[in-house]
């Protein structure tokens, strides 16, 4: 990557795209309030399906790298999304994975605990609200009188943006906080950027910004949020709540812990961390207050019934193992190709 879109005399070009995500990120962009006008001053918005009409083929026709900045939110779940990722990569000078979904998979990636088959089964058959007597399911190609209709291919495994194309910068958060978004835009406009491929954000974790008082930790049992009314002063983790603040990148000003709700880790891991879940596992395990294997087992089994939901709620796609094993899901484990 080159200097990442330094300020130019004439306006730069800005694209925003929405792949597999809830859309919250689109709204979050507007969360920067009147500053959006400053953005409008700096950029022409060339592509933003959520708010204005546009045609993909127009983008396809643009010269490579002619878009100065692309804010891409959402994970990659279908062939179309992957195509758009590749296309916008090719056409953009600076590609930003905007928000948790694009950055690390987020909630859509929890689907990686299931297979396409299971998901379709639920969505098009099992759910009580479904009325689908013929058991029709989405097809990539459908013959109709007018010709062949195409639907994107639905992947087995949700990918992060970074797993399908090279990403210049990451902006974590579900959604990213308005201030962080603005900081990033400023950084991009002024060219004061970290090394390509890195996150624009803090280098420490939520605890750093959490007002609660912290002490040495010893945990005899983990509690679910509904089990206790946490003391307002002290660290939630010390009260047994699985608070991911210890491992989650600062940036949210500790919104949740401040109001007594444990951090769920939406801002993703700290700089240089390879696997968010591993950090949570090792940290929590380290402070379990028992040396008896059976008791330890009990504390873990009873306290953390859903380890993936607790440790990989936002990062499953971006984790080292990415998904649940396909073996034993009708898929024979693919033999190694030497």
């Amino acid at each position: 990557m080159t200097d990442g879109g330094a300020p130019t005399t004439e306006k730069g070009k800005l694209a925003l795209y929405w792949a597999a995500s809830c859309g919250g990120c689109e709204i979050a962009v507007l969360g920067i309030d009147d500053k959006i006008l400053k953005v409008a001053e700096a950029f022409d918005i060339v592509f933003w399906p959520c708010v204005m009409d546009g045609k993909v083929r127009d983008i396809e026709k643009m010269p490579d790298k002619s878009i100065d900045l692309c804010l891409f939110n959402g994970a990659i779940r279908t062939s179309e999304q992957e195509y758009m990722a590749q296309l916008l990569r090719q056409k953009s000078e600076v590609l930003v994975a905007f928000g948790s979904c694009a950055a690390e998979g987020c909630i859509p990636a929890l689907a990686n605990l299931n297979t396409r088959e299971e998901i379709f089964q639920t969505a098009y058959h099992d759910t009580p609200s479904t009325d689908n007597p013929d058991g029709i399911r989405p097809q990539t190609e459908t013959e109709v009188a007018e010709g062949i209709l195409h639907l994107p291919m639905f992947y087995n495994t949700v990918k992060t943006l970074g797993q399908s194309v090279d990403v210049d910068y990451y902006l974590p958060g579900c959604p990213p906080e308005a201030d962080r978004i603005w900081d990033a835009i400023v950084a991009i406009l002024t060219g004061q950027l970290p090394a390509p491929g890195s996150v624009i954000g803090a280098q420490t974790t939520v605890c750093d910004t959490c007002p609660r008082t912290r002490n040495e930790k010893k945990i005899k049992e983990f509690k679910r949020t509904w089990e206790i009314i946490p003391d307002p002063e002290t660290c939630l983790l010390e009260q047994g709540l699985v608070c991911c603040g210890i491992a989650t990148r600062a940036g949210c000003e500790a919104l949740c812990p401040t109001v007594g709700s444990p951090c769920i880790g939406c801002y993703g891991p700290n700089d240089g961390v390879v696997d968010f879940g591993a950090r949570m596992m090792t940290a929590l395990a380290s402070v379990i207050d028992s040396q008896d294997p059976d008791e330890i087992d009990r504390i873990i089994q009873e306290g953390i019934p859903d380890p993936i939901g607790s440790f990989y709620r936002f990062g499953l796609a971006n984790s080292l193992l990415r998904r649940k094993s396909l073996a034993g899901n009708g898929y024979s484990r693919m033999a190694e190709t030497a």
């Binding site: 045609k55 993909v56 083929r57 396809e60 062939s79 179309e80 992957e82 195509y83 590749q86 605990l113 396409r116 990539t140 195409h150 994107p152 291919m153 992947y155 087995n156 495994t157 990918k159 390879v274 696997d275 879940g277 591993a278 950090r279 596992m281 090792t282 929590l284 395990a285 380290s286 379990i288 028992s290 040396q291 294997p293 330890i296 087992d297 873990i300 089994q301 953390i304 859903d306 380890p307 993936i308 440790f311 984790s319 080292l320 193992l321 990415r322 998904r323 649940k324 094993s325 396909l326 073996a327 034993g328 899901n329 484990r333 693919m334 033999a335 190694e336 030497a338």
Partner: protein, 165 residues
Amino acid sequence: MTESDFEPKIVGFLCNWCSYRAADLAGTARMKYEPNVRIIRVMCSGRVDPTFVLKALSLGADGVMLAGCHPGECHYIEQNYKTIRRFKMLKHTLRALGIEEERVRLQWASAGEGALLASAINEMVDQVRKLGPLHWSGNWMDDEGAQEAIQALPSEHAEAMEVPA
């Protein structure tokens, strides 16, 4: 590689004071055991970060063995108790991801227990060989036809007709 001649690749993390010395002893005593475990020396089993295990599996290892001093015998007094806790926590998660029990193992072996370590290695290699390759990355390989579907899109867009205003 077919199941029959499949040879598991296992990464072993051995603590410097007990289990690595056990490996030394197994050597000096010329005890023959399966060559499938490749050993990384750490000062204490307490150094083994769950990340190491996940990393090894994601890189293509078929199993991971953690080995340390017996509980209560740790050369850093009590650090291997933390190993127990982390191991249990990690297994809890690995189970949820559908990774078989036998693929990740915690083995205590004191400096004098070369034979124990050797037999543990043989046992594990045997178990993992039965399970077959893990080949974890296979789990997220591109779905069949994905590339075609992507390649097809530009032309589809080209074909699509302009809607008259």
